[in-house]
């Protein structure tokens, strides 16, 4: 683990509401460079809302949020464009230079091979299986090698070998300084986290 002095993502006394319903109540935590931080909690506890708020998709009701604007994000939702092929989607993503980050073609090619996506490049996204769809989402999040990765249940639908490939890639990025915030329900993920926060009744317990 590298030094945690460089904070990539931090929230302090964060509050989030949907209408009158308070989802997050006074939540504070941070993710530093080279750290793998886990976020757990029951279904519906507000984990996904919390990361959406960190990334600017949801407006907080109160508190302070800081997040590196170059974060890579793998959301829980199936958001990929159904009419595009995998290659077209990746071409579009690679053309976007978020915060000056560029895609390294050799890294992309290696990821395609490791994730066994190279054979699916011409497939329309609507025809992908659940696990393959999830791999495309994960690749989209990491392809720019962002300094911060926010992953919301990224291994759903992966078989065991792909699960291990996933962690190999995450470890490689972390070794290069990337901070990772990962939402997971899997017990065997816990041993891989440097720190775990649990969201319970709208409050983060660390």
């Amino acid at each position: 683990m590298q030094s945690s002095e460089t904070v990539l993502c931090q929230c302090t006394a964060l509050q989030v509401s949907y209408g009158r319903r308070r989802i997050i109540d006074s939540c504070s935590f941070k993710v530093g460079q080279g750290q793998v931080v886990g976020l757990t909690g029951e279904n519906g506890s507000g984990k996904s809302t919390l990361v959406k708020c960190l990334l600017g998709f949801v407006r907080p009701k109160g508190g302070h949020v800081y997040c590196d604007p170059r974060a890579g994000y793998c959301p829980q939702e199936n958001y990929l464009h159904r009419a595009y092929t995998v290659a077209e989607h990746l071409e579009l993503v690679a053309s976007l230079h978020r915060g000056g980050l560029r895609v390294d073609p050799s890294f992309l090619a290696r990821c395609l091979t490791l994730l066994k996506l190279d054979r699916y490049l011409r497939y329309p996204i609507r025809r992908l299986s659940g696990g393959t769809y999830q791999k495309v989402k994960f690749l989209t999040a990491i392809v720019h090698r962002p300094p911060l990765l926010v992953l919301d249940e990224p291994t759903d639908g992966f078989d065991w070998s792909m699960y291990l490939v996933f962690w190999d890639l995450v470890r490689e990025l972390v070794a290069a300084g990337t901070g990772v915030l990962l939402i997971s329900h899997l017990v065997h993920d816990r041993q891989r986290f440097d720190r775990i926060y649990e969201l319970r009744d709208g409050v983060v317990h660390g």
Binding site: P60, V65, C67, P69, Y84, L92, S95, L96
Partner: protein, 267 residues
């Protein structure tokens, strides 16, 4: 920076065109709907003459036309408006969440809107050309190019309207019904030259978005005169509608919390 935006813009344009091409229902509708309407008019419309009023700014010109001629031209304008709004709805509503994500990844909402609208214009130009050419086969047109311009303007205005509704609406069906409501009310009913010529409150009809483009189409189809007043009115509608579309996309893609350079969202 400009190079990057233009290459991303070109890519979004190319993918958007492909999306429309891969929408088989849309491609079928492009040909089938105008054909069905034209066939029904040829089958049912009478050949008796009707006196109609056409708008030329300060001047009102009266022309004598057959029901068949009038119905053919009017219905083609109405169909173009509806189809354009439908295509724009598909382009700006479907998979908006994807482009919201792309915007998060660095896609400029302005580049997205312009590229998407350019792809839309390509299709609607095709639609206007097919409609004007088809119309020319079944009824004589005095100025086919002006008729084409009128069709194009109605597709731009209604396309922008379809895009605005598509971007702002959360679900597809209410958005489609909004489009059907305005297209039926305006382009397919109140702009009927027979209805307009005998209307008690024609000023109200003149305030609707399809009025100027329809008058351009009628002037091009039935007279040898240009219609600068209608062209200016239609251009104003088109610019205003596109500006609102750009704004609507900006709001929906950026969301309430556009990350600043520091990525800080303090409350």
């Amino acid at each position: 920076m400009v190079d990057r935006a233009s290459s991303t813009g070109w890519l979004v344009f190319r993918l958007s065109t492909l999306e429309l091409w891969r929408n088989p229902l849309g491609m079928v509708l492009l040909v089938v709907i105008p054909s069905v309407f034209i066939a029904m008019i040829l089958w049912t419309a009478g050949t008796g003459s009707l006196p109609l009023k056409l708008y030329f700014g300060e001047e009102v010109v009266e022309v004598l036309l057959t029901q068949r001629q009038t119905a053919l031209v009017f219905v083609c304008a109405a169909v173009s408006g509806f189809l354009a709004a439908y295509y724009a709805l598909v382009l700006f509503h479907s998979d908006l969440g994807y482009f919201r994500y792309c915007s998060f990844m660095g896609l400029s909402p302005l580049v997205f809107t312009l590229a998407r609208f350019a792809a839309f214009l390509l299709v609607t130009s095709l639609l206007a050309a097919i409609t004007a050419t088809g119309l020319g086969y079944v009824t004589p047109l005095e100025q086919p190019l002006l008729v084409f311009a009128g069709f194009l303007l109605i597709t731009v205005i209604y396309g922008a309207y379809g895009g605005i509704v598509g971007v702002l609406s959360r679900s597809f069906m209410p958005a489609l019904l909004m489009i059907v409501l305005l297209a039926d009310l305006d382009a397919a009913w109140l702009q009927n030259p027979v209805y307009y010529s005998a209307a008690q409150e024609s000023t109200v009809i003149q305030w609707l978005p399809a009025f100027y483009p329809c008058q351009i189409v009628f002037a091009g189809a039935f007279t040898s005169r240009g219609n600068d007043a209608a062209l200016a009115g239609a251009a104003t509608w088109a610019v205003a509608a596109i500006a609102i579309l750009v704004l609507a996309v900006q709001v929906r893609l950026r969301g309430p919390l556009a990350a600043g350079p520091a990525g800080r969202f303090d409350q």
